[in-house]
Symmetry: D2
Subunit: 363 residues, 4 copies
């Protein structure tokens, strides 16, 4: 089944959650991965935890056993809550593994910024210097040489892909962006909560963290680096009535003139057209034609068109009356927003083809 010549050994710490399960699913289809070691803290059945992977033959190991085998690992992924990876990363790095952390532990270069956003003192500030922020499309050259990769948050990466071309082209005049994102309920984790029971969420929507979401500062750091000046991010988040995916809209008021056509040109130039250029980022460049109502549905991407895939679809519009640029970006929060981009980073860091194991289209 494999076209890959390597036989990588990969560990997944915290493999009982949605992100850990998704990593296992994707790694099972990766042509260069030979051994997957999903690790959990307690004793449980892999097939009952991830029944979609029944038949795969994967079984859980313990976190302790995985640590004991650190020298065997080519890569280790952390799918743990904030605060775990920073305690264990050094051990795996010393053993020679590439570490991809899907938590927030290594996303801030400045330990004080981390502490402000997460309310925890950083336990391994000396590692922050070598950590690379794994927005692959922006930081590919850094990821190529990285040993410790901080995988972006799902909201953050989707927003970064939505806004990077605009900030690159027009960033001088942009000091504030507003982001509204609706996430699937897998984004809220596997711990049972009444508020996330099916009977509560079905047919509903529920906003949260409107006083300031933790991915806001993460975005401000990225956008500051992109533009060379401070960019305020007003990040607004809501749970939607679906299990997977992020539907994100970013609005930016411009100072100078633009048009939808010009914006499409800017984005297509930045990401390339189709799979030429950035494979995983597709700009919907359909023209606005035809009559009202009909015309809309080809202009903006639909969430369902990326669910299950590592793709990010982008759509653009321009409100000329207010000179506001509208960018719609859709991703699968567990794939491009987490496990998929983690593997994309692994591929780049190990010198594998960047799309290995990640080429599947959405259902």
């Amino acid at each position: 089944m494999s076209g890959g010549g390597r036989d990588l050994v990969v560990g997944v710490v915290g493999a009982a959650g949605y992100t850990g399960g998704e990593l296992c699913r994707l790694l099972l289809g990766h042509p260069d991965v030979g051994t997957i070691l999903p690790a959990v803290r307690d004793d449980r059945s892999f097939e009952r935890t991830h029944p979609n992977l029944a038949g795969s033959g994967l079984v859980f190991t313990t976190v302790d056993e995985l640590e004991a085998r650190a020298v065997d690992l080519d890569v280790v992924f952390f799918c743990t809550p904030t605060g775990h990876a920073m305690l264990a990363a050094r051990h795996y790095l010393d053993a020679g593994a590439v570490v991809v952390d899907l938590s927030a532990d290594f996303r801030f270069a400045d330990p004080a910024a981390f502490e402000r956003a997460h309310g925890v003192v950083h336990a391994a500030p000396e590692l922050l210097d070598e950590a690379v922020y794994g927005a692959t499309e922006l930081n590919r050259d850094l990821v190529r040489k990285a040993r410790l990769i901080a995988n972006p948050g799902c909201y953050a990466l989707t927003a970064v892909l939505a806004l990077a071309p605009l900030l690159d082209a027009r960033g001088d005049g942009i000091h504030d962006v507003a982001v509204h994102a609706v996430n699937g309920t897998t984004g809220a984790g596997t711990t049972p909560k009444k508020d996330l029971a099916h009977a509560e969420v079905f047919g509903s929507m529920l906003a949260y963290s409107l006083e300031g979401h933790r991915h806001g500062p993460e975005l401000e750091a990225v956008f500051g680096a992109l533009t060379g000046h401070e960019v305020g991010v007003d990040l607004n988040t809501t749970h939607g009535n679906f299990a997977r995916g992020i539907h994100l809209q970013a609005n930016v008021r411009l100072t100078g003139p633009t048009s939808r056509a010009e914006l499409l040109e800017t984005y297509t130039r930045f990401y390339g057209a189709g799979h030429d250029g950035e494979f995983f980022v597709l700009v919907n460049d359909n023209a606005r034609t035809g009559k009202i109502n009909d015309k809309q549905y080809d202009l903006y991407p639909r969430l369902a068109d990326v669910v299950g895939s590592n793709f990010c679809h982008l759509g653009l519009d321009h409100d000329a009356d207010r000179n506001v640029v509208k960018v719609v970006a859709v991703t699968d929060n567990l794939v491009k927003g987490a496990a998929g981009s983690a593997i994309q980073n692994m591929n780049v860091a190990l010198g594998l083809p960047e799309t290995a194991g990640l080429r599947a289209y959405a259902l």
Copy 2:
């Protein structure tokens, strides 16, 4: 079944759509309504069109027959596409009926503004002067004397309820508001379209009209009247994976200081607490307590908590870092956003108790 002493005769023009069906449903439970005459242009079965109302005994009449009986009517509701009500309203007004138009025909005082927003020349500009914009909570005194009521658009009314207290208290410094709203698929009407097939929308979201939604100018007119100066409205709309309801978030950047507590006080003063004051508008004034994640779910209203009812639930927050006020408003697009507020306006215009037939809570 009735506690009402009157025996009103009510016509519904365009009764085959979702809004027309909803009007019939609510009118069937209204204590003062004795006769409901739902009218359509073609020949069809009421029970097959609105199977949820099977057993009610209602049957369709034709639009022509209804016009012929105009003198019998106390009230007529228009649930027709833009452009119909302005042709027929005069006939019913002359016959002595109160006219409540749920389309956009009479929402603009200025015929030129109507034409800009809808691309149609207004056929009855002489009626615009006497038309009252039926945001009942704001215009109650005008509605009381009205014969021709322009029922607000579903997005517009939800946004008006979300922002009126803030604009009332702090409007001097507010020149721009951003509104993001997700609507159920009943908002898109009953004409079959591939893009709104269940197989397409399920588990998805789809933005539309981002270049400028027609309810934007409607809102700008209302907010201009409220504040005495121009307020730009950036209205962003999306179809969600549910059939009914609007989840709307309005963000407003303030110039002076505020806090969540102060905002709650402003809103509670404006609308009253609980059912004292505005019966149909409830401000969620839960305090922010407890630990992160748990605390969120009591602060903002959930869409499902109003579906099926005429209520609007409001929640508030404040992003202190950016001094942005966040208002979450949820309504049922077919009830408070259409048929319910139309009946509320009827009640006020006829001197009935304002809540008659509208007291049902959400499921």
Copy 3:
């Protein structure tokens, strides 16, 4: 708002769950109910537990306080798990209240049958004789005189309404029926469980209790009484991707000839046509016309057409090749399947109009 002349005082024991909340919702709209006393065991906020009822002014009392006020109560509803009502019912009966138990405690005349089905020894077998099984449409005369009413299970009542006319007309030859029912997730209660989290159930279905559901024996008891002989019930249950409602199909193989037309006639005779006859049970008697595919959608009821209402819609078909009668019945599991029929029983037992507070149509 009320047309009722009485001012009933009503208690609800176990008012924090979905059924208890639904009882409160319906009682708030009941013209004869003056005081609602929802009781819980712990200390919690009514508005945070049932945010859809915010503004209603209801507050929780404790179970102990409610017991202390038993003499004030006209009616008490039990929405408690199996085993609670049988301990407390005597106290309320002695105080003069009508008791409507929505749990299974009083559904079996024979304590041994209860113990077989529920694995618990019955604590008040002496009350079973006076308990009336509250399938109102079948037992109206008994309910009229009842002081202790055993409200049917949601699956059981839906199946009883689906099959009573057939068993009444053709029961001699029927010894086995198969029932397949899909229930909304509110049917599984409010305790958070991973398997009923939104992220797990969304877009999914999950069968349960296929080795024998507890409502099976309840149905066998009813059908035995209806036919005078033993009728085996193969009850199959599944969780569906919706919050409310039961979609139930009953299949019965006949020995003698029949046809769809004859079956429709049998059912319409049993229940009456439209609201004449049984108000809450509607037989869809649309003819099979038109071409294949189009024709189907008018023959069978749709779940959504009853959600939120106390109605049961029935549809019928006949597979002539196998001589199998197919009955589709849809109800709202929390209304007709629980709180609605409980109030219907209360109305009958107190001599109120049977439909008081229950006439709302589905959304």
Copy 4:
């Protein structure tokens, strides 16, 4: 990316529908497929028709152009309505292509049986003899030599996989089976219909074809061949509130004794355990343990656990009181129920690894 050494050229007739799109999606990931030629009758954009495949570079050809290139094709798939493939198959067969028909045209060996089930005279009865019914797990040896493969209907294949082991082991005493299946709305095709609009189906369920579904006779033919005697199939079908997947339950009354353990053993022996044996069919052999309610969720497969994959998960139970065997089978109606098993058949017919391009696990 490919490990396959061949460079197959594959045509898809009728590629604008859900099944055609799904075939393209899966073929894009197939290691041995080099060229995909999706053909439609009209002029339309591939990317706008299947936006989930944006970037793939596929474009539509016309049916006429595809026919003109028949000699280039290794395989052609028909995703056309009943009646098309039987007109065109001979052309492709004569040109040397393997033909896999996903419609019903070649599913019956007897043209009269086809005409009874579909109401159409068969246009190519001379091809029926060489057509092989593509239930791969049962007919692998025939498929290996086939040039014309009749891919099973989605309901039929799911039911065949559910019941084959039981009929194989205990078929002598089985003369009737009852099948209840709920399908996603993609099963109803892409033509817009009001009854399948999102606003109509959301939160609902709708039965159809209860007087006798066309896949019933297809199943009776298969089961007759399996057992050597007539087996009546009572097939009941319903649209559910999800886009993809079939949740099917088959109930069979046995004459002799059995138990859940024995049934599990029968099924595991037939299909093998895990991926040993039949790769795509997994029997859930979890033991019934623990307390009521908790125990259920590991016994039966969940629909979501196969959506997007070519797997069929099976669960078993036994109602000892009635001696009824319950089999739950879940598949993705567009993958294992259509495009996936079509490719599985292609793989077998061409001597490729049977799982090539089909190993992806569900999300």
